[in-house]
Symmetry: C2
Subunit: 636 residues, 2 copies
Amino acid sequence: MTSEILEDIKKEIMDKLPKNAQVSKVEFEGPEVVLYTKNPEIITDNGDLIRSLAKELRKRIIIRSDKSALLGPEETIKKVHEIVPEGAEITDIYFDTVTCEVVITAKKPGLVIGKYGVTSRTIVKNTGWAPKILRTPPISSDVIGKIRTTLKSSSKDRKKMLQRLGRQIHQGTKHPNDWARVTSMGGFKEVGRSSMLLQTPNSRVLLDCGVNVAASDNKNAFPYLNVPEFSIEELDAVIISHAHLDHCGFVPYLYHYGYEGPIYCTTPTRDLTTLLQLDHLDIAHREGNPLPFNVKHVQKAIKHTITLDYGEVTDISPDIRLTLHNAGHILGSAISHMHIGDGAHNLVYTGDFKYERSRLLEPATFRFPRAETVIMESTYGGREDIQPSRNSAEKEMMKTIYKTLKRGGKVLVPVFAVGRAQELMVVLEEYMRHGMIDEVPIYIDGMIWEATAIHTARPEYLSKDLRDQIFHMGRNPFISDMFNKVQNLDQRKDIVESNSPAIILSTSGMLTGGNSVEYFKWLCEDDRNTLIFVGYQSEGSLGRRIQKGWKEVPLEEDNKTKVFNVKMEIKTINGFSGHSNRRQLMDYVKRLNPRPDKVITCHGDPYKTTDLASSIHRSYKIETKSPVNLDSVRIH
Amino acid sequence: MTSEILEDIKKEIMDKLPKNAQVSKVEFEGPEVVLYTKNPEIITDNGDLIRSLAKELRKRIIIRSDKSALLGPEETIKKVHEIVPEGAEITDIYFDTVTCEVVITAKKPGLVIGKYGVTSRTIVKNTGWAPKILRTPPISSDVIGKIRTTLKSSSKDRKKMLQRLGRQIHQGTKHPNDWARVTSMGGFKEVGRSSMLLQTPNSRVLLDCGVNVAASDNKNAFPYLNVPEFSIEELDAVIISHAHLDHCGFVPYLYHYGYEGPIYCTTPTRDLTTLLQLDHLDIAHREGNPLPFNVKHVQKAIKHTITLDYGEVTDISPDIRLTLHNAGHILGSAISHMHIGDGAHNLVYTGDFKYERSRLLEPATFRFPRAETVIMESTYGGREDIQPSRNSAEKEMMKTIYKTLKRGGKVLVPVFAVGRAQELMVVLEEYMRHGMIDEVPIYIDGMIWEATAIHTARPEYLSKDLRDQIFHMGRNPFISDMFNKVQNLDQRKDIVESNSPAIILSTSGMLTGGNSVEYFKWLCEDDRNTLIFVGYQSEGSLGRRIQKGWKEVPLEEDNKTKVFNVKMEIKTINGFSGHSNRRQLMDYVKRLNPRPDKVITCHGDPYKTTDLASSIHRSYKIETKSPVNLDSVRIH
């Protein structure tokens, strides 16, 4: 079946391309059709033809030069430097001989591409090598470095994997697509360990595979992978909505237990996922509660990841076509749109989403070609979950900081590394630049810095405002010198011992460990200082206790328990959440275009998922369901 | 694990039994513990001890003699005839050397057993052979004959199967029983192809596996066996609620595709199931639309059936204990009670049930040790589904028959072979015996006779009234000479050509084929005759058209279409249904003891299942669900 499909495609390509294109080979590589030519010049001159061909075939087409048409490496490097303007600031060039690509890393990748791709095309014409262009992040990122090294060293394996996957995706459907269903494997009527299995007569796709880091035991920490319809051997694909651990933290486990298939997500999601998974392994190891997988499985996951841009339509199985859309929650977060069968059904899974413009991101996409069933999060789905506007939250924040700095105090903001930290950085940079708060050093501790580096590597995923600033006004708030990287104990001591005011962002966000607790111990007994909570503090966490007003807090120091007298000002500011609040959730469903037939709620406390479901049903007369883990819902 | 469990049981048995019991072997045979003794006398004298041991072990215990303690066959036969009184009317004796049983078939099996089993025990003491006592049905039954022959010839295979099963059931649980769920595979929001899969972390059990004989194509005729959580290899057990094809018709398919496990049902269900499955194969073959299995697979199903009496508690998997209870629907119909885990959850599946005493059967059981979830049928679950009382239906019926016979006409009742036909026979016999209608011949055509024969073989399953009549008053209505068996065309012609009045019961019940249509053609043009419908006539059937008042009916005769002028009286009498009507369904839930936490409705048109579910929720504040096929519902 695969070879038949491939033959048909080959024939169509041959018929449409000019004779002198000299196509030497056509093959599937994952979801894409790869076309090898001995005459790259002709092909690059026929861009429109290739685009219309791709549209007709409903496949993505990649052009590569036949080995015989490739220039030698040294000459190629010389040519590239001739062709690309110096302003691009190329930092690295290497050759992937498996894919016949020259990988060019540059500080200004746009200049390597050129207007409408003209520079990039010139490289092909002159060298035969297809340029793959990467950004050198303005803040260097360890994680991105590691990922690039991993991919570089596994190019051959990856090609084999993609070819195998290509055959699998294009094998044709074996059964009529007369049903589709979704099994809840985690994160239904709860928050944490999000995971669900989409099943059709022809495929099995896992949407998210998270862990509940707050769970008391392993039984509640991981998704129900023992549900009878799930088997790693039969899994076609994994989709990750975004990088938070409750959505991606258990993915390496799949590779530990024999999964050899792909992960689909955006590039920032892959990068941030890797960062958080490695950190999770670290913490679990340090706490003596090791995870059922290790670093090797994180690397295996990287090797099997296929990154997709928003809006890129991709076949992921014989009968499912995936498109990712912006979810507005964190960098790279995606709403997954799955087109099942030949028009049989369309499923939208929102993941976590924010239906409001934030400093960092555009609001979530609400328009889809078709959408019969929508599975949506309900974190703030209760009728009382209305939060102050982002604007008033910012004002409140600045007032508090202003007062603290004026009295010579320090501000400590415990914050989660990915998402809210960068949101606050953008806000602080702007207010400080406009002189609305005093210009004091802002300390960015530990992992937040690394997460920020990843943000600077993927500016295409930021809000239009930020992109305008970065690309057109040449001002990247993340690299402002207001921000100071902190990475060791000495630096921390210097900061707290200095008498001058400062703002400190540090993890963890709920004071459940990490350096935020150390800062707290140093700063809490001085009434000039302020602690600002900007995120949810879960029951039982130190953050929650302080929020409740505890004035004497026993904490461990030098292996002894010491009681700290909390004199610092304690402030909670709502409104910076990356989740839609109740009004935004309801508005989102109202605005959804087209209107869905069925809405399934997940990712929320039991009361919130059912309250949101019944409100949607009552207000919009849409069928709703609020399943529990291990329920399956037929959607078609 | 199995051997450990077996060793423990062995030890306990040895400790409790007197030394001279000389137990030579203890083994599992399916759900039972079999104990071989060299001294059967001692064991039979210690009945109370064995009973208390069984209770303690929570296992059924079977006692067999060691081969060395068995008397020779000829001597045994002589002894049996000496011990058993002549009035028992023994018709057959044979030896099952695999199970060390002497199988005694008798017209009065009660006399072979003796008061409190004294006769049976005397046989063991004197011969070593354990007597297995079967009834010679007063009406001879082909099907029961076939089943007995099949079992006789497969004794060795069956023992192997049971030993394998014994090991499987007693292997101990591998996972904690922290969840249980049910997947709808057929017969949800529809009638036909009933089937659902009960899953726990340790087992998979299929409840019913029916066909929809009225379906237009195979896709809608058979259950969704392609649901991902179902696999024949992993199936532990099949339970059949009752013999109608929409609950058992697809079971042979499982054996065709490699199932080697057991079926659990009552003895009458096994017998009637075999009858209806064979008939279904016949019809399908004749109509040129063969089924995806054949007679061999029906036989394989017989060999794998373990019959259970009502109330007999049986382990069917490492974590499920099954008890069948009377459902009041047809002979042998059962409500399945499943005790899951060690008190984790209790599930009740009603199958089809009648919560009202009928002529034939006692009303459905409503009292269970525990019952957190109840899955119930909703055939008449709509608020308008109130039917006339059984009493007034009987009166209406007799009035109509009386008038017809008085004017010299014949009465034709098209009726389904199993259930309603026997109900009517009991009614007719009583009214005629009491002289309330004229004494005319009642003709019982084709399969109805065979189904009735099976009823006479299993009188223990009939209503108390009928049992009293049969056992204590020596009067079995089914063998009254009012009833005449009809089995060929000549007999049929004689009946319709004779000028004297008569009553004819014939299949099919909706005039969709079978001899009822032939009778109709012969009788319909004479206005002295009457046609009485006592069952549901589905849309599109000839029965429905006639019910609607068609006066000219085109039908095939001698390969030509002929128009018949319907002049006979047409009458519909409701109230004989084997299903609970709406009021009875609601009353049943109200009476359920204990009160369930959750009720799941199935087996009904979409409107009826949801209407019943929402009424139960509103009236009794019980959580209800009304799933569709392919949904899974977590019950624990």
